[in-house]
Symmetry: C2
Subunit: 220 residues, 2 copies
DNA sequence: GTACAATGTGACTCGTAAGTCATATGACTA
DNA sequence: TAGTCATATGACTTACGAGTCACATTGTAC
């Protein structure tokens, strides 16, 4: 976490530093990011940087915490459109709301996604707990869907979690990559065409999970 | 490509250098890999390295070409178990044969996978042609499956290709990651339990693709 | 043996990174 | 005014990377 000195800084100066760091991580990933460049781009001295943060990992963890807080606020403010929604419907809503959020903060999301997903730190020691959180949530959802009779009870829960996890990551990465090419990413994500594409991708997963295992057992 | 000097080298010396490079890329990825370390680990001088290769990218491309050649030999020697196989059956066979190969050359595969898939160079400028090859093959397969009536003709081919591509990558990465934890990776991949897991993952995709789009259209 | 080509060597240059520290600035306080 | 404290600075140290080059060694042909 940043030192008190950083938190005492005027809002505007803090923002300049945060933006420089976001651009650096989004553009170079974690390892290739340079504190020298962050410092140069935010027009502070090297010494000041080390008065604010411990090191590169410290800044990154701070950015991550900002993103998580914003995301939690965002989800708190949103509510699922209808209350009588099945588990998969709820999952679809969640994924789409997530995309909406990502499009509202594309640079920040890109920085964090690049480091955590693309560079694989997410699955390494430092951030494994965040991934654990996701898989736990998914696991609960699957079990709920089984209770509701939406998923065949013979389904291997761990496997289904992996499917949903990988699938969500793939869609998110894909949408972010394509979205960054657009003029107005938020508008593009909200467009009927993009929404339909996301829906289709999610349905591929959903029907796979709904139908697979029972069929699989019969076919063997 | 390596210079003639390298190709003139005695087989054993070449192997030592190749092994050092493989270990370096497998352990550090592309950017973080160091020629200094490769040189130290293969007990040649810095000067010699530059007599053999242009630079880091040159070694990596050479390793990649070795892997591709070996893989082509491997697939040439193997034949699908039965001739009356549907498209998805053929796809399953291909994926599994691929896993078999990866397990036979785990370090080499890990090095290349880490750089191309995990670090995302596969989708960058340098290696995009290899990815294009994969998507073209998949595209042909999907169209064939449609002709055979195995896939709903309303399916969006581009979307299906993306599904298969992403899914194959995810499974490959997963199996390689888990496999590296085992004592005998080849034995582990061949075990009934692992094969069943791979099958299940592929069936999730298959049933998703078979059933989704027509259902999707009806549900809207 | 001599001459010439091929191969091998590691110290050296140059660039850039992380992190430190003596010193400077400037605001507030007694 | 003098003292004190938080903040700001950038030159400096240390480490490590890529790539070069003058020179050394080895192999081969005559």
């Amino acid at each position: 976490m940043p030192k008190q000195t950083f938190l005492n800084l005027p809002e505007q100066k803090r923002q300049i530093i945060i933006n420089a760091a976001v651009d650096e991580f989004a553009g170079f990933g974690f390892d290739a990011s340079s504190i020298n460049r962050i410092v140069a781009n935010s027009k502070i001295s090297k010494g000041s940087f080390y008065q604010y943060f411990e090191d590169k990992m410290d800044v990154f963890k701070y950015l991550l915490s900002l993103l998580i807080n914003e995301k939690m606020e965002f989800f708190k403010a949103k509510h699922p459109p209808s209350s009588n929604m099945d588990t998969f419907g709820y999952f679809r809503w969640m994924v789409k709301a997530g995309m909406e959020f990502n499009s509202a903060y594309p640079r920040m999301t890109q920085a964090v996604t690049r480091v955590l997903l693309v560079e694989g730190l997410y699955y390494g020691k430092n951030f494994i707990q965040y991934h654990q959180l996701t898989t736990d949530t998914l696991s609960t959802m699957i079990r709920q869907a089984m209770k509701n009779g939406e998923v065949d009870p013979s389904v291997d829960v761990e496997l289904a979690v992996m499917v949903m996890d990988v699938w969500t990551t793939a869609i998110t990465t894909y949408i972010l990559q394509e979205g960054m090419k657009q003029k107005d990413i938020l508008k593009w994500v909200r467009s009927a065409k993009t929404q339909e594409k996301i829906d289709k991708l999610l349905y591929v997963m959903e029907y796979g999970l709904r139908k697979t295992e029972s069929q699989f057992v019969r076919q063997i």
